[in-house]
């Protein structure tokens, strides 16, 4: 019986590197979706697919994902070598990591920015702030798009490893700990590694943000 985790054959419409070992991959969209949803992807129809947040907008023709190549990974070393026209298998979009209307902070590390890019591309711009942690300046994916869509004050980049970064030098968690003006009535959306999500959530909770206002998604 087909259900939402069933995989369907797709052709790669575009694949390109965006930083060392990090790629965007897209394929034609056959399903509608909501920003924040994920797709399960594999190279075979009955394997063990991995999930990726959609980075494209709800009304765009393609579904785009952002992934980093894990050296010993079972899928990404092969995904990164795909070419336009190659076959992949993808599920229909699923999940409920949506962004609500109103004041909201998107907090992401690395490729965890993808669901928020989808929200931005879907027109959710009002009262939103993006906080992104990356190791080097090149790891601030989609920065041109974000700069175009969000006011400068609403886009924070924290660079942990590059001494001559043009952005905040330090970890995202350092920046958050030093920030005293985090509104209690805003929603905070966290996406990234489990370590990052748990650490950021603890910082927000210690800053008296109600846990009900913190919505998280971890990579797994």
């Amino acid at each position: 019986m087909a259900h939402k985790h069933t995989l369907y054959k797709k052709q790669v419409a575009d694949i390109r590197p965006v930083a060392d070992g990090v790629f965007t991959l897209s394929f034609i969209r056959d399903f509608s979706f909501k920003a924040g949803q994920v797709v399960a992807i594999d190279l075979v129809p009955d394997g063990k697919p991995r999930m990726y947040s959609i980075a494209s907008g709800e009304n765009e023709d393609c579904i785009e994902i952002l992934f980093d190549e894990k050296k010993n990974g079972k899928l990404t070393p092969f995904l990164s070598k795909l070419k336009v026209g190659d076959t992949i298998y993808a599920s229909e979009p699923f999940g409920t990591f949506r962004t609500d209307v109103g004041k909201g902070y998107w907090i992401a590390s690395g490729t965890g920015i993808a669901p928020f890019i989808s929200a931005l591309r879907s027109g959710m711009i009002e009262q939103k702030t993006m906080m992104h942690g990356g190791r080097f300046d090149v790891n601030f994916y989609y920065s041109a798009l974000i700069e175009k869509l969000l006011p400068t004050k609403n886009y924070v980049r924290c660079c942990s490893k590059q001494d001559d970064t043009q952005y905040y030098k330090g970890r995202l968690t350092q920046w958050l700990k030093a920030e005293v003006n985090l509104p209690k009535d805003a929603k905070y959306y966290l996406c990234g590694s489990p370590e990052m999500v748990v650490e950021v959530r603890d910082i927000l909770i210690s800053a008296k943000i109600p846990f009900q206002n913190i919505i998280s998604e971890t990579y797994f």
Binding site: T96, P194, I215, F220
Partner: protein, 346 residues
């Protein structure tokens, strides 16, 4: 590096003997020595020929690791700390009772799921355990002979490490393994649907689903997994399964004061589980450091239990065990991890 034979399924042992050019019945003999007779030295495997034992000795090892630390509660609960091959820490809790003795085993080092109420989640994720490392917690337990039940409810999300969990259950339940009944084994999950389907297909062990809130929006505030696999879809999938009389589904429900313990929650829980033959296990919450959550009072738990019972649900309240040694999973190993990090920092 030699491969560890302990933790290989009967089928995997067969692959080993084929690789070594040994007769296939050697796999059955090996399984018997490892899992039935619990002999861990090739020399003592007396029904194997000398050449066979030498071949095995040259290529393989049999490694079990004793616990490095144990804490004993006044109620008899014991928490064992194991150091993994990668120098990480995992723990297993032995919980003796009047008529049973349960071991709660870990399946991962840390966890990826990031549940708000969980201490293990604060470690982040450091790796999966192999089937051998899962079984080692059972076999190396000093009270092994007393065990009546195994629950996969320690550190980690078992269905995020499905292959090793299924292999370990296969070894526990196979006639060529320990020969336990799958009815004595329960695997807990927060509801990773595709893995849950595979588990239900491939195993006969019981399933316990961590529910904790019947409302999608409220559950996602405490359990990030809800954003990917909503509980309503998990329940919908469970409804599709004919589980028979022998197999039990239970729902774990940690009670948080003012968060999930109201009549509104009880009513929705009844609606959500309507028609599913199951048990709801209410669990007292013992706060972890820096948590914004509080546990429901004893009176509140009884009240909630009565609301559910009045609607015909089977509801139990899990006895709190080992409170004086912080027996909730993740506490001991997190302490060890922090200690190690501090030592490293200096």
């Amino acid at each position: 590096m030699k491969t560890n034979l302990f933790g290989l399924t009967p089928f995997q042992l067969k692959e080993v003997v084929v690789t070594l050019g040994l007769p296939s019945f050697t796999a059955t003999q090996l399984a018997e020595w490892l899992y039935k007779k619990q002999v861990y030295s090739f020399v003592e495997m007396t029904n194997l020929s000398r050449q066979t034992r030498e071949k095995l000795e040259t290529n393989y090892t049999i490694d079990l690791t004793p616990a490095t630390k144990v804490q004993t509660s006044t109620d008899g609960t014991k928490k064992y700390l194991y150091t993994t091959l990668t120098a990480k820490f995992i723990e297993a809790a032995y919980i003796p009772d009047a008529d049973r003795a349960t071991l709660c085993v870990s399946t991962q080092i840390g966890c990826k799921m990031g549940c708000l109420f969980c201490m293990t989640g604060k470690q982040g994720f450091q790796g999966n355990l192999s089937a051998a490392e899962i079984l080692n917690q059972i076999q190396s337990l000093p009270e092994y002979a007393e065990l009546t039940n195994i629950v996969y409810m320690g550190m980690g999300e078992p269905l995020d490490n499905l292959e090793a969990v299924l292999d370990s259950i296969e070894i526990m339940t196979s006639d060529k393994g320990y020969g336990w009944s799958p009815k004595r084994i329960t695997v807990s999950t927060i509801g990773i649907i595709p893995a849950m389907i595979t588990f239900l297909e491939k195993s006969q062990a019981h399933l316990a689903v961590s529910l904790h809130s019947p409302f999608d929006d409220e559950r996602r505030e405490i359990m990030p997994i809800q954003n990917v696999y909503p509980i309503t879809e998990v329940i919908r999938e469970i409804r599709r399964w004919e589980l028979g009389r022998q197999r039990r589904i239970s729902f774990e429900y940690i009670m948080f004061k003012g968060i999930n313990d109201t009549a509104r929650h009880a009513n929705e829980l009844v609606r959500l589980l309507n028609g599913i033959k199951c048990r709801i296990n209410l669990i007292r919450f013992h706060p972890i450091p820096d948590t914004p959550l509080e546990g429901t009072s004893e009176a509140g738990i009884v009240n909630f239990q009565n609301l559910l019972k009045a609607k015909g649900l089977t509801v139990t309240v899990r006895a709190s065990r080992g409170q004086d040694i912080f027996a909730a999973c993740g506490l001991l190993s997190t302490k060890e991890l922090l200690k190690k990090q501090q030592e490293t920092d200096f």
